[in-house]
Symmetry: C2
Subunit: 467 residues, 2 copies
């Protein structure tokens, strides 16, 4: 058995040394065609190294690298690198090489990668795979990625309820090789129709006489989950119970797979990482610099183009009040400050709302509660920032009225910014829009318009004191 | 055994119904003093509900609530709500109530909460706890939160190597109640000095004759981790192997606890969530609106104050070139646009760098590689945005030179922004600063200064064509 084989025997893994592996080391070994040396080099790679090195190799070199690695070894790296990059790599490989690698992956990942391929490629790879659970993989690829069916594995133990403990142990022993790949703590018990009727803890088998029927020692009030349960349902479920895995059943109550807590945790982590990227304007929530250039530039530009148009709309407020600005040109120095600081103040509130929405601490209808919570913070921080900016303005222009205009505008606009920043993500969620992607642009457009209007209006009302 | 008991028998959990629970329902039941009704209400709470409801209750009501709940039930919610909120709640409770709740938690969480208390409070609570592994908890609280010692549990099975399978099974059976709380797949084998010599998979015991000595069936080339291994080391380790848990050992090779994959995943998730909040200006990376008001306002203000000062510095560039602005007042409309768009463009690159650093795809010394990757995106997107803004400027002022000034400045400053946004997080990491917290302010200050300088310099060079 290979030392890279997951979920099998504990085995010695070479210690991490901090040897620096460069892309030229890798190139040299690829050209030298010495698979042994290549594999030893790869064993010293650190977290993320493979992804980085792939980003620096040419496409033909990457293909060569995957071909040189043993399938088990290659599968290990396919699991380690980010999913989008792995899917890209697999799509470049020949059908035979891709099939060999996929053979080494657990069923949920096979399905994820096959699901990314078009139908022709998928059928070709399935043809080449050694012993594919074709029906199972087809079933898994039919589910969305973030429902129980998309997250579950098909490697689980199940036994007919008529068996005895001795028969069960006998069966496990005879399939030891196959089961080595399973991550097993429970065995599921089904009736003749495949309907799930109970669950066994394997460690309880240790303490039970061999002739006992398994359905007399199983737990029959068991926690299941629908194969269409959403990620949010699963999060709630694993919050309430502490099992490491829960069986997924179809409408007829037949077991179709097992959803593990770890897979739910990973999916939640990926979701929150995607939300962070989206909130910073990476449409799609996924970018690595190893991805194709035009896709990266285009997705960033899509969001930027919307933003520049919104910015032009907001700035047209300044154009409309150009007369005031001409009279008090020093205000032009403060317009970008007020615009930027309102953005900062509001984005703090956006971030807290996005996090509270993700945690379920606030719900889409809690906009009013959030607003009340932000009002206080907005007052305190708005007055502080306003005071600071007002004093700077006063001293610079030696005119207290000037300080009052810019400080007052800063204070008022900060208050507006936290209120909008806190509530906009909640309202977007309520109307089924994506709060991570849209909150920022909406916030800054509104606060820019308000900020420019407030500064220039205050200034035009007190024009006689300013000039 | 309680149905809320973690990691024990699979048990029926009541279906989630979408009944809306309001804070007034909860208040009514608290005053009515009917624990049964209260517990049934609590069972229908969804993900995040408890955290939200606590945020809406007064302090004396929250204390009453925790006292009314059974310790097992209370412990369940202490585990579910965010850690900082849970620590705050426990600190409000009487020593006896806190001790009862802590008794129901696994050792790693006991240590986390006790570690948050001051020494007097900690000793008082330890006195009240039923059967605290005082020495163990003291040892655990001595570790940082994000090293193996801080993440590990002390609930693990270990046996002396002289035992036979029959003796081991006999021992497990006699301790069944205690072991019900363990999350057990492996048992560790030690010598007379407590040094770890091997590991047993419990399921293998199923297939072994009773009189076999356990050290003849154990795996003796086993993966361990130092109790001082960092979160990054653990991430790398669990990337390379697929075990659900790895034993942590001290310098003498004695087992001191077990680090589970799930706890490492959760710690990584919390870290990335904290980084998101920090990148948006939430110092400390943790805010919920249920936290004390002045702390929330103060931490936000700390970051805002630094920002407003940086903004004033950047805007002083405009003050220095006020003459140009007076001559071409229409430029004042474009200064905030260029400032804001450069921030957006740069922040996209910051977000991708933060993610790639977290994934290990780029390392602190890869600033040069990142710069090369960003240059292309900056050229394409800078030219696109510059063209757009330039055409708007040209049409508005009916002057191609005006369009050239604002469009050219936008293009050049976007290029600068992506280069700075991509590399600043990498450089900060290299110099051991916190890239999540500092990248944004550094980026926007530099791009503001450059943006204002470029617009106003281009304008002053071409002044004759503009007026």
């Amino acid at each position: 058995m290979d030392t890279q084989e997951p979920q099998t025997e504990p085995s010695l893994v070479p210690p991490t040394d901090s040897v620096e592996i460069t892309v030229s080391d890798l190139r040299r070994l690829l050209l030298a065609d010495s698979p042994g040396e290549l594999e030893s080099l790869m064993l010293t790679l650190g977290h993320g190294d493979m992804s980085r090195l792939l980003g620096q190799l040419e496409e033909h070199e990457r293909i060569l690298l995957w071909e040189r690695l043993s399938p088990t070894h290659a599968a290990h790296y396919i699991e380690e690198i980010p999913f989008s990059q792995a899917a890209e790599e697999l799509s470049n490989l020949s059908t035979a090489v891709a099939a060999d690698i996929l053979d080494e992956l657990p069923s949920d990942e096979q399905a994820d990668f096959l699901g990314e391929m078009d139908e022709t490629a998928r059928e070709a790879v399935l043809q080449e795979m050694e012993d594919p659970d074709v029906e199972g993989v087809r079933a898994l690829t039919g589910y969305d990625d973030d429902v129980a069916g998309g997250l579950m594995r098909r490697e689980y133990l199940f036994f007919h309820r008529d068996l005895t403990v001795a028969q069960l142990v006998q069966d496990m022993r005879s399939r030891a090789d196959e089961l080595a790949r399973f991550d097993v703590q429970y065995a599921y018990v089904t009736d003749e129709k495949g309907v799930l009727v109970g669950v066994l803890r394997l460690r309880d088998l240790l303490m039970t006489p061999a002739e006992t029927r398994i359905d007399s020692i199983m737990f029959d009030s068991l926690q299941t989950v629908s194969d269409h349960a959403t990620l949010q349902d699963l999060e709630l479920l694993f919050d309430r119970v502490s099992f490491v895995a829960v069986p997924a059943v179809d409408e007829a109550g037949r077991i179709v797979g097992v959803v593990r807590r770890i897979d739910v945790e990973e999916a939640l982590g990926e979701r929150s990482e995607g939300e962070f990227l989206k909130s910073q304007g990476i449409v799609g929530g996924d970018e690595l610099r190893s991805m194709p250039f035009w896709g990266r530039a285009g997705r960033r530009l899509a969001w930027l183009s919307v933003n520049v148009l919104l910015n032009i709309v907001a700035a047209s407020v300044i154009a409309a009040r150009q007369g005031t600005l001409e009279a008090v040109i020093a205000l032009a120095v403060f317009l970008p400050i007020i615009s930027d600081m309102s953005g900062c103040t509001g984005n703090q509130a956006v971030a807290v709302s996005l996090r509270e929405l993700a945690l379920g601490v606030i719900r889409p209808k809690d906009a009013w509660w959030v607003l009340k919570q932000e009002l206080g913070v907005g007052l305190v921080n708005g007055l502080s920032l306003g005071l600071l900016l007002g004093v700077v303005g006063w001293l610079w222009q030696s005119n207290p009225w000037f300080g009052l205009v810019v400080g007052g505008a800063m204070a008022l606009n900060s208050l507006i910014a936290v209120c909008i920043g806190g509530t906009v993500p909640v309202l977007l969620k309520r109307f089924k829009a994506d709060p991570a992607l849209a909150s920022g642009p909406i916030l800054t457009t509104i606060t820019d318009v308000c900020g420019f209007l407030i500064v220039l209006s205050l200034a035009s009302w007190s024009l006689s004191k300013l000039v």
